[in-house]
């Protein structure tokens, strides 16, 4: 456990040193701030637009960070040959992967916290006060983090099997497909072909269903997220992330370093 924590902390420190991270955070904060201006050229949706744009910025920039840092997690260690140094120590390969995963997750949690603080600052500037109803936004941010936990898992898995560019492409496309998975099943049902219907149903359950976590619009309208959805989505993310990290471990265990 201590070894996992040590690798996670090291990964976190390494990620924090990435310049691209700061650029992304600055852009996200700028966008959140711009939501105030954007609201002023519209009518009657000043707060809705701030919540929508703020949460979408947190989600999109979180996604970019997860992909761009995640794809290099393992590949970079192999490329720099620092993997030999790490594995020559009493560290199991599984611990290395799990540590890497939690390290990046920690980075994303910290970054999301910074962007959330920026969002609340913008909300306070707009409303001149904050109320308990504004805490609803945290539920959507929690779902964004669950989504990012899956994206990191995907990026980590691909980082073990492919080059960074291909890993980024695969992760991004799986994210897009995962957002459209309910449509894939619907298309299958529409064909009326039993085999296609079965195939699309399998894909529906097999692919990560990122659509589960899309609650930004509801939260923007002040709607509460049902307790069941909070629990079920948490378990879904936990289970799916475990599958992804386990798959990454299996691939990494089999990998030969020359």
């Amino acid at each position: 456990m201590r070894r996992v924590a040590s690798i996670a902390l090291h990964t976190f420190k390494e990620s924090v040193r990435e310049r691209v991270l700061y650029n992304l955070i600055v852009f996200a904060l700028l966008l959140i701030g711009a939501a105030i201006l954007f609201g002023s050229i519209s009518v009657g949706i000043e707060q809705i637009i701030l919540v929508n744009l703020g949460l979408s910025s947190i989600s999109v920039f979180g996604l970019l960070m997860a992909i761009f840092i995640g794809i290099g997690l393992v590949w970079k260690e192999i490329e720099r040959r620092s993997i030999y140094c790490v594995l020559s120590k009493p560290v199991r390969r599984a611990e290395f992967i799990v540590g890497k995963y939690f390290g990046l997750l920690l980075t994303l949690i910290v970054n999301t916290a910074i962007m959330t603080a920026g969002f609340y600052a913008a909300l306070f500037y707009q409303k001149r006060h904050l109320s308990s109803g504004d805490l609803l936004v945290l539920e959507a941010i929690y779902f964004i983090l669950l989504q990012l936990a899956l994206v990191v898992g995907l990026a980590l898995l691909f980082s073990c099997v492919s080059t960074p560019i291909l890993s980024a492409v695969f992760t991004f496309f799986l994210y897009v497909i995962g957002n459209l998975s309910s449509d894939i099943r619907w298309f299958g049902q529409e064909t009326g072909n039993a085999a296609v219907e079965k195939l699309t149903a399998i894909l529906y359950y097999l692919l990560p269903n990122f659509g589960n976590f899309n609650v930004i619009s509801q939260v923007a309208h002040g709607e509460r997220i049902p307790g069941y959805l909070l629990l079920a989505n948490s378990l879904y993310a936990l289970l799916y992330a475990t599958i992804l990290v386990s798959a990454a471990i299996l691939v990494f265990e089999e990998k030969e370093f020359r």
Partner: protein, 300 residues
């Protein structure tokens, strides 16, 4: 961005001079772009197009950010409507489709149904003059937000004001009054519209409610303009009665309101709600002066 800035500052000597030469290059872009803008302006305005006409397709493409996209489309509606209105346009081809996309993307964006219906229903040049489109929009809003009683209020208002269908207006107000949390006056409004539809008092009641609830300055201003027009209409009806009285008494029609003041029928020269004096028109009836700030076309 940060690294680019840092790199620029770390340059030395000749390279820094070369980098600084980029500044006039950027400045040269300014007149160039202005020239292109002028040229494009002479070739007519940018075509009004909906790049993706289906809200449902956009919803899928938004990857979970449909709320933000709906906000962008709603802002586009507001900007489109504002630009057209400022340009005194009479055709608003994209207004209906843009509103449909907005509400397909976010069916709970009630502001788009409410304001959108007003934009659509109001007669040109104030609006698109498409009350049936406005009714469709509101009906879709009611399906998506069945407990939001104000959409029934707007539906009743359009039936009343734009379509002069007082029976349907009364039914809409009645249906709205049965929704949870509906204001008590909705029931009274249903009864009033059913009993006295088309009368100025009923119209004033409706516009006063719109004015009181207005969430935007443009809607409030529009309600105020309608209330002023109603007041002017009421005052002119009163002045016409006085003009008839004068004709009976003097045996000829008055040419100005001074004659009515001299005859003791009026205490002073009458002024319309914008403060401009009324005049006697060529037909011998009370009329607004050319400089009046009241627009009676709103009542047509």
């Amino acid at each position: 961005m940060i690294s680019a800035g840092a790199t620029l500052f770390s340059l030395t000597g000749r390279r820094r001079v070369q980098a600084l030469l980029l500044v006039p290059c950027f400045l040269a872009l300014l007149p160039l772009q202005r020239g292109i803008d002028r040229e494009l302006a002479t070739r007519g305005q940018i075509a009004e197009v909906l790049y993706i006409p289906s809200g449902h397709l956009l919803r899928r493409l938004s990857l979970g950010h449909e709320g933000l996209l709906a906000n962008i489309y709603w802002t586009r509606v507001v900007q489109y409507f504002g630009r057209k209105r400022l340009g005194h346009a009479t055709r608003f081809e994209l207004l209906g489709p843009l509103l449909r996309i907005t509400t397909d993307l976010d069916p709970r964006l009630v502001i788009a149904y409410r304001f959108g219906a007003i934009f659509l229903a109001e007669k040109a040049p104030g609006g698109a003059g498409q009350p049936s489109e406005a009714l469709q929009l509101l009906r879709r809003g009611i399906v998506a937000n069945p407990d939001y009683w104000r959409l029934w209020q707007d539906l009743g208002f359009i039936y009343y004001w734009d379509l002069k269908d007082y029976a349907s207006a009364a039914r809409a107000f009645q249906a709205g009054s049965e929704r949870p949390g509906a204001a008590i006056w909705m029931r009274a409004m249903a009864a009033t519209v059913a009993a006295a539809g088309g009368q100025i008092g009923t119209s004033r009641l409706l516009w006063s409610e719109i004015y009181r609830q207005a969430e935007s300055e443009s809607i409030r201003r529009s309600a105020q303009e309608h209330l002023l027009a109603l007041q002017a209409q009421e005052e002119m009806e009163y002045l016409n009665r006085l003009l008839v009285q004068y004709r009976t008494r003097a045996g000829r029609g008055a040419l100005t309101f001074r004659e009515l003041v001299a005859a003791g029928l009026l205490a002073a020269l009458p002024r319309d709600p914008s403060g401009v004096p009324y005049r006697v028109g060529p037909d011998g009836r009370a009329a607004l002066s050319p400089g009046s700030g009241v627009d009676l076309r709103l009542l047509q």
